[in-house]
């Protein structure tokens, strides 16, 4: 019988960094307290190993040799990532159930649930391709 307790790692990305606008002080107080209590509870249960809010402003680096450095993401964005939790849970369903408890959902926050990969898929592809070439060369 398989009694494996191997856990899967997921990242919750909290999107939307303007959902707190327009909330009353009482609502803000409640959502922040609920969020912190949620985080602490998950940590106590061993389901969350860490998490942080991100500063609103940052930089976007792109282009050959990083020649483009722009301010970003746009401060007022529904897509912008405002913070993250790192989860160690049984499976994707558990990660989704936890994401559904996010106190910000009620105010328009969006939670992206992403599995953490062991290996970079591009690295894997590069290795497969070069292994294939070696096999071809020795054949």
């Amino acid at each position: 019988m398989n009694t494996s307790t191997t856990k899967s790692d997921y990242l919750l990305l909290f999107r939307g960094n303007i959902w707190d606008k327009g909330l009353s002080p009482e609502q803000l107080q409640k959502v922040v307290s609920d969020w912190m209590a949620w985080f602490e509870g998950l940590k106590e249960q061993g389901k969350c190993t860490g998490g942080h809010p991100l500063e609103r402003e940052g930089k976007l680096v792109s282009g050959k040799q990083g020649r483009n450095v722009a301010d970003g993401p746009f401060a007022e964005s529904k897509e912008a990532i405002g913070g993250y939790f790192y989860l160690q849970v049984a499976d994707e369903n558990e990660a989704i159930e936890i994401a559904k408890q996010c106190p910000g959902l009620e105010y328009g926050a969006v939670v992206e649930v992403r599995p953490v990969a062991d290996v970079c898929s591009i690295k894997q592809r590069a290795e497969e391709l070069s292994a294939g070439q070696l096999a071809g060369a020795t054949a």
Binding site: D9, L11, N17, D20, P25, L28, Q29, V32, S33, W35, M36, A37, E40, H52, P53, L54, E55, G58, K59, L60, V61, S62, K64, Q65, G66, V69, G72, P73, E79, I81, G82, G83, Y84, I96, A99, K100, C102, L105, E106, G108, A109, V110, V111, E112, V113, R114, P115, V116, A117, V119, C120, S121, I122, K123, R125, A126, L129, S130, G132, Q133
Partner: protein, 133 residues
């Protein structure tokens, strides 16, 4: 935190180009790791779910795998300041293949509380009440 956006930069590269690019990326990462600049870093699986909406939380597939905006991985960097983080981001070899690196300072404190310092004590009281219950 560095967020690597545009996870399909390898499309259109020949096997040789891909191998070369990947070697450079791995060397870049190893040098950062040996220099004690990396706190955590992982690639993310392409599949994911988006949870939104009030009460029960609507679940949909996402993000769109082909999107240039999609986050393909992250790196929590130990840098002295934003400038150093940006310089490190600029040295990422995959930039020439079209990725964008988003550089975001990690905060210890919730930004909502930073903007509303008058709430800090009230939130603490509420948390104590929850913990005591």
């Amino acid at each position: 935190m560095l967020l690597f956006r545009g996870p399909h930069w390898d499309k259109g590269l020949s096997p040789e180009e891909l191998q070369q690019a990947m070697n450079k990326v791995m060397a870049w990462f190893e040098a950062l790791r040996k220099g004690d600049k990396v706190k955590a870093s992982q690639p993310l699986g392409a599949q994911g779910r988006i949870i939104s909406g009030r009460s029960d939380g609507m679940v949909s597939d996402g993000p769109f795998a082909e999107s240039k905006e999609a986050v393909g991985g992250y790196l929590v960097l130990l840098a002295d300041n934003l400038n150093e983080a940006v310089e490190i981001a600029r040295s990422n070899p995959a930039l020439r293949y079209g990725i964008t690196v988003e550089v975001r300072p990690v905060l210890a404190e919730c930004p909502i509380l930073e903007r509303h310092p008058e709430l800090v004590e009230r939130v603490k009281e509420q948390l104590w009440a929850v913990a005591a219950a």
